[in-house]
């Protein structure tokens, strides 16, 4: 009985370790990868390796690596590993999107209508960079500064304590 319990304990411990290392620690994309795609962006924001690649809300792959473009134009080149069974037209657009306001960032693909398909190691030419929220805030502050001083009184209300 004791031996049985020890065996069950050791097995379940190893199962937990395997779950941690394979399911959580391993590759997040469990579908059939294999098709490598490149896309260059001016700004990738908080995109990181292992971020998901999504078409219409469905996860089809993940970001493998992010590096500076070898062309020397200081753009960021994102290497994506997506499902090799996908037939993506070569005018597919890639954009960096954000889940929610402060959520993590991911790459969204929008297939176009071209007849020719993207092959392995193809470059996606239509890209839209990440929206950097600091720049947006900077612009808002700038435009507020240009408006009249009369608005000041309204914006000086106490910040509400909603905690």
């Amino acid at each position: 009985m004791r031996d049985l319990l020890v065996g069950v304990f050791v097995l379940s411990g190893f199962a937990a370790l395997a779950y941690l290392s394979i399911q959580l620690g391993g590759s997040t994309y469990s579908g059939p990868g294999g098709l490598l795609l490149y896309a260059s962006f001016d700004e990738v924001g908080g995109l990181a390796a292992r971020s998901p690649v999504v078409i219409g809300g469905v996860k089809v792959g993940q970001v493998k690596a992010i590096e500076l473009s070898p062309d020397g134009d200081f753009r960021a080149r994102v290497l994506m590993d997506v499902d090799e069974n996908l037939k993506l037209p070569d005018d597919t657009a890639a954009s960096i999107l954000t889940q929610g306001v402060l959520g993590s960032q991911y790459v969204g693909l929008e297939p176009g209508g071209s007849e020719t398909m993207l092959g392995d190691r193809a470059e996606i030419t239509y890209t839209q960079s990440a929206i950097v929220i600091e720049r947006l805030i900077g612009r808002v502050i700038q435009s507020l500064g240009n408006s009249s001083d009369g608005d000041d009184k309204e914006s000086r209300s106490e910040p509400g304590d909603d905690g």
């Binding site: 004791r2 020890v6 411990g13 937990a16 306001v101 993590s104």
Partner: protein, 258 residues
């Protein structure tokens, strides 16, 4: 003044002596682990007392800690509208810190104290002297299986703690607070990497297991042969193993960067 200096010096020297004693003791146990006879029967029995009997408290604590992390994380994150990241918060804090550290503290309290008390009682009743008289090495026969069992049990218990914690966070976050289940899992999986989080976590629990094993067997072996000595050995084992766990947790985190 002179007495103070003398006292400090004496304490320092005796502490260095004890540290050396622990190192030699640990070295002997490592040596015995790799040299026959291997006492598999005793090892299985010791894994039962240290691992299986600690399972209930470890799993219960894991589930509760995971639930509390889910609740606290939600309360903090919802103020920033970022409650979707709950999976990363619960996962990272459990895998990096709470899993290995709390498991080590629980095992030190549940199993480490039992090991120190048992060996201490054997010292008090002169059973170890009896073993020596039969030319059986008490380090090999008594301490080594217990220490090895603690060392094996710790990473397994820690992994189970983490899995139950993740489940507890899922129940609170997804079941009670209404976060999307897929988002929780996806956030969990993208934030935990094998090299940084999982390997660091297992490394921590192995080191903590070695610390708890070494300290509790050493305290048992060096306890005074009376009931006061046994109780002091038990308390000392738990306190010293817990403090060593926390100190080494900081050191490993700083070195590993996890």
């Amino acid at each position: 003044m002179l007495a103070l200096i003398r006292h400090t010096g004496w304490r320092t020297v005796s502490n260095v002596f004890e540290l050396g004693g622990i190192a030699v003791f640990g070295g002997r146990m490592v040596y015995q682990t790799f040299s026959p006879p291997w006492r598999l029967r005793r090892l299985v029995d010791e894994i039962y007392t240290t691992g299986v009997l600690s399972l209930a408290i470890v799993l219960l604590s894991g589930a509760v800690v995971g639930s509390v992390l889910g609740l606290q994380g939600y309360i903090t994150l919802v103020r920033f509208g970022a409650e979707q990241s709950l999976g990363s918060v619960v996962g990272l804090s459990l895998v990096r810190e709470f899993g290995p550290v709390l498991t080590a503290l629980l095992v030190a309290g549940r199993a480490g104290s039992a090991v120190a008390a048992e060996i201490g009682a054997m010292v008090a009743t002169e059973q170890l002297d009896g073993l020596r008289m039969m030319s059986v090495d008490p380090v090999d026969f008594v301490a080594q299986p217990k220490a090895l069992a603690l060392l094996i049990s710790m990473p397994l218990l820690s992994a189970l703690f983490i899995v139950f914690g993740l489940a507890g966070g899922y129940v609170v976050g997804v079941g009670l607070l209404g976060i999307d289940g897929g988002t929780y899992i996806t956030n969990l999986e993208t934030s935990i990497t094998f090299r940084d989080e999982v390997v660091g976590s297992v490394l921590k629990s192995v080191v903590f297991g070695a610390l708890v094993a070494l300290i509790s067997t050493w305290r048992g072996f060096t306890s005074a042969p009376n009931s006061a000595g046994v109780s002091r050995a038990t308390t000392g084992a738990v306190v010293q193993a817990s403090v060593a766990t926390l100190v080494f947790d900081y050191i490993i985190t700083a070195l590993w960067g996890g």
